[in-house]
């Protein structure tokens, strides 16, 4: 079953890497709007929303690239699992507080699509599975001659 496991590992890391790189690109293109979307969660003091908006997309970008290129896959997927867990907690708190806000996960502009926190939370749970596979099923590098 090792071949199937390896295949699933590569599919999972490519999918997760692409998703986070895509999310990062949309945020980097509109940091202002992303800061606004972070602020809408009403969890941080005003200025810190901008600090998060300035840095978070680059964490997603770097880890996404690492997953796509199959480099440092375990640190990258562990980091993303932590981040993803944070997203899930934050989304759950938005649902708990009954906030009618956009997720801010991907598309940053208002107006158009409006992804509700519950849909975003379920999506993050799916991403978590991909990241777990990327972490746990990474084939061990072959050591020695045989």
């Amino acid at each position: 079953m090792s071949a199937l496991r390896d295949l699933l590992f590569h599919l999972a890391r490519l999918a997760a890497g692409a998703v986070f790189l895509y999310a990062a690109a949309l945020k980097v293109a509109n940091i202002d709007a992303f800061a606004g979307n972070v602020a809408a969660y009403q969890l941080l003091p005003y200025s810190y929303n901008y600090l998060v908006a300035a840095i978070l997309p680059y964490v997603e970008m770097i880890t996404g690239i690492l997953l796509l290129f199959n480099v440092q896959v375990r640190p990258a997927s562990l980091l993303l699992m932590g981040l993803n867990l944070l997203f899930i907690v934050v989304l759950a708190s938005a649902i708990w507080r009954g906030l009618d806000i956009d997720c801010g996960c991907f598309q940053q502009s208002g107006g158009g699509e409006h992804v509700a926190p519950l849909a975003a939370l379920l999506r993050d749970v799916g991403l978590m599975v991909l990241l777990l596979i990327s972490y746990a099923w990474r084939p061990e590098p072959r050591r020695g001659i045989f």
């Binding site: 005003y46 901008y50 300035a54 840095i55 680059y58 440092q72 640190p75 208002g110």
Partner: protein, 172 residues
């Protein structure tokens, strides 16, 4: 075979994770440092997608941001709250006592507004929240029209409503 237990394996990755975070922080601050600095100095944010002419014309005159908690004391002290959204949005719900002045109808209604509101009045403008830039643009236009103290409530109507503060309904 790898004979280290998996739990020990997790901690093995901490230095690489810290390194990734460090690089992301340096990169993010290098690219967006100015934005973050402005936010921490409480300066107002000219939006990247705000009309360029408005940014240049009023470069030395930008509306200041105002916090949710400051609105009620300011209003009690005589500040006028202005709703920059469409009249229909205003009718569906607005801040108590707010005057409707949709950005799109400003040209037609500015003269009337100036007759009712003296130029030394503190004005607080808001619209549909962080994704809405009409309040900022309207603030710039009011400054250009001679109002001396114009502030923008960036959280707008959604933040006000979601904070559980009273909402007024009805057409202007």
């Amino acid at each position: 075979m790898n004979d280290t237990p998996r739990s020990a394996g997790i901690w093995r990755h901490v230095p690489a994770m810290a390194y990734i975070l460090l690089v992301a922080t340096v990169l993010g601050l290098a690219v967006n440092g100015q934005l973050v600095r402005r936010a921490f100095h409480g300066e107002s944010m000219p939006r990247a997608d705000a009309p360029l002419t408005a940014t240049i014309d009023a470069a030395d005159q930008l509306p200041l941001p105002v916090d949710l908690a400051e609105i009620q004391p300011l209003a009690a002290a005589g500040a006028v709250v202005v709703d920059a959204r469409h009249a229909a949005d205003y009718a569906a719900g607005h801040l108590p006592g707010a005057q409707s002045l949709p950005l799109g109808e400003l040209d037609a209604r500015l003269a009337d507004f100036r007759q009712r509101v003296p130029a030394d009045t503190v004005i607080i403008v808001y619209c549909g929240g962080y994704n809405c830039h009409d309040s900022f643009t309207l603030g710039q236009r009011l400054l250009a029209a001679g109002y001396q103290d114009v502030r923008v409530f960036e959280g707008g109507f959604p933040l006000w409503r979601d904070s559980g503060l009273p909402v007024e309904k009805g057409a202007p």
